[in-house]
């Protein structure tokens, strides 16, 4: 695979882009990262490679685009299948992993607690707390969501850990107090180099959230 050309179209604070970066790092794949100006002008390359959604991340592998972060992570796992498997080999375990990653996408990703106000925000907060409660239960006493090894579900959720402080700020709750297992799990994941170097600084995320709320007109 020495001649592979791998380009990642990304945005610095995107949890979805971070997922791909973690996967690429786990597999030790060399790639070129290109930052998109999402609040300004999207590049011609992005519009060409993801005409349907015009969103990042987009992985361009030897000129061919793959879109949607969880689809990209699975693609990476299937192409570079000779090292560091990200999904389990057993079909039932794989199904569980896909289910929970999809659950994170449906329930955690919208982050309504950050972008709404009043009743809407309150409802989003309650849903987020309920979601974390379910995830806390699912994690249980396992080191990772997949069991003994770091994998697909961990990748899907850990990128939100740099957003936890923002959740706490706007949701007015404590992750550590309410969800101690997830809090420990996040620390454990951050000990992996792939995660540590892919996650954004929580302080920068907080600043981004404040700015983005203004841009959305929520403030």
């Amino acid at each position: 695979m020495a001649d592979d050309e791998v380009i990642l179209l990304d945005y610095w604070v995107s949890v979805f882009g971070m997922r791909v970066r973690i996967a690429l790092a786990e597999k030790e794949i060399k790639y070129e990262s290109r930052e998109e100006d999402l609040l300004g002008n999207k590049s011609d390359l992005l519009l060409k490679m993801n005409p349907i959604y015009k969103k990042i991340p987009v992985l361009i592998h030897n000129g061919k685009p793959v879109c949607e972060s969880l689809i990209i992570v699975q693609y990476i796992d299937e192409i570079w299948n000779d090292r560091s498997p990200l999904l389990p080999s057993d079909p039932y375990q794989r199904a569980q992993a896909r289910f929970w990653a999809d659950f994170v996408d449906k329930k955690v990703a919208p982050r309504g607690v950050l972008w709404g106000k009043g009743e809407e925000q309150e409802a989003a907060k309650n849903e987020l707390l309920e979601t974390f409660k379910i995830l806390e239960g699912e994690l249980g006493d396992k080191p990772y969501f997949g069991g003994e090894t770091f994998g697909f579900v961990d990748i899907s959720l850990v990128t939100f850990s740099c957003w936890f402080h923002a959740f706490e700020m706007f949701g007015k709750f404590s992750m550590k107090a309410e969800f101690p297992k997830i809090t420990e799990w996040a620390k454990r994941c951050k000990q992996r180099e792939s995660v540590a170097k892919s996650l954004q600084d929580p302080q920068k995320v907080d600043e981004f959230v404040v700015e983005y709320r203004k841009w959305l007109g929520v403030e």
Partner: protein
């Protein structure tokens, strides 16, 4: 192995139908359990405590949730008819379109047909645009999967019988032959495939059911 595989489903659900089609293509025996969604069985609540929805596939006592996850599990567990493409890139593309249908297209169609009168025109416009994308993706192929039906065709099952029922029940026309010659032809061919035909619910009953579920017609 009939006694070790059960499908908890609902006769009018296109999601349950997807699983039935897949199991038929794989020539796998299973026990079908019809759920009354207004009076959910203890079995369903046990196997899917998270959102209590069908379909649920139970294999050797292990539950699988979410139709897309179930389809992939079926393809990985039973050999024979290939539902997902073999090539990883083609697989990523198929997953993309499956997600597009579930995350974007189906909600837009529901809003167009059954949403509030106020937003009707805009909703129809949005659904039409999204259908156009799928029409273009079909190109000159007989099915999304090529010569035979594959993942995307199965996931697009709602666009065959259900969309016709939606249109009849709501009075909103979306997928006309003039605007969507390829999808209209596809819909017919898809519904005529034996694995599909024998698993589709009866049209008239479906239309009545959908009308009662979603509300009053547009006209």
């Amino acid at each position: 192995m009939a006694e070790e595989l059960s499908l908890l489903g609902m006769w009018a659900s296109p999601f349950s139908c997807r699983v039935k089609i897949a199991l038929k293509l794989k020539v796998v025996q299973y026990k079908y359990v019809e759920e009354d969604l207004f009076n959910k069985s203890p079995l369903l609540l046990k196997y899917n405590p998270i959102d209590k929805k069908v379909p649920v596939l139970v294999h050797n006592g292990n539950p699988l949730l979410e139709s897309l996850v179930i389809l992939e599990y079926i393809d990985e567990t039973w050999q024979g008819y290939p539902i997902f493409p073999k090539d990883p890139y083609e697989r990523a593309v198929a997953r993309f379109w499956a997600k597009f249908i579930d995350d974007k297209l189906l909600p837009a169609i529901r809003r167009a047909c059954w949403g509030e009168e106020k937003g009707r025109e805009k909703a129809v416009e949005e659904a039409t645009e999204l259908l156009q994308l799928l029409e273009m993706e079909l190109k000159e192929k007989r099915f999304f999967g090529g010569e035979t039906i594959g993942l995307v065709d199965i996931v697009a099952d709602t666009l065959s019988l259900w969309l016709t029922s939606f249109e009849e029940g709501s009075g909103v026309e979306l997928m006309t032959r003039e605007k969507f010659p390829k999808l209209s032809k596809w819909s017919h061919e898809f519904a005529s495939t034996s694995a599909v035909k024998e698993n589709l619910p009866p049209k008239d009953e479906l239309t009545v059911f959908l009308k009662s579920l979603f509300g009053k017609p547009a006209k």
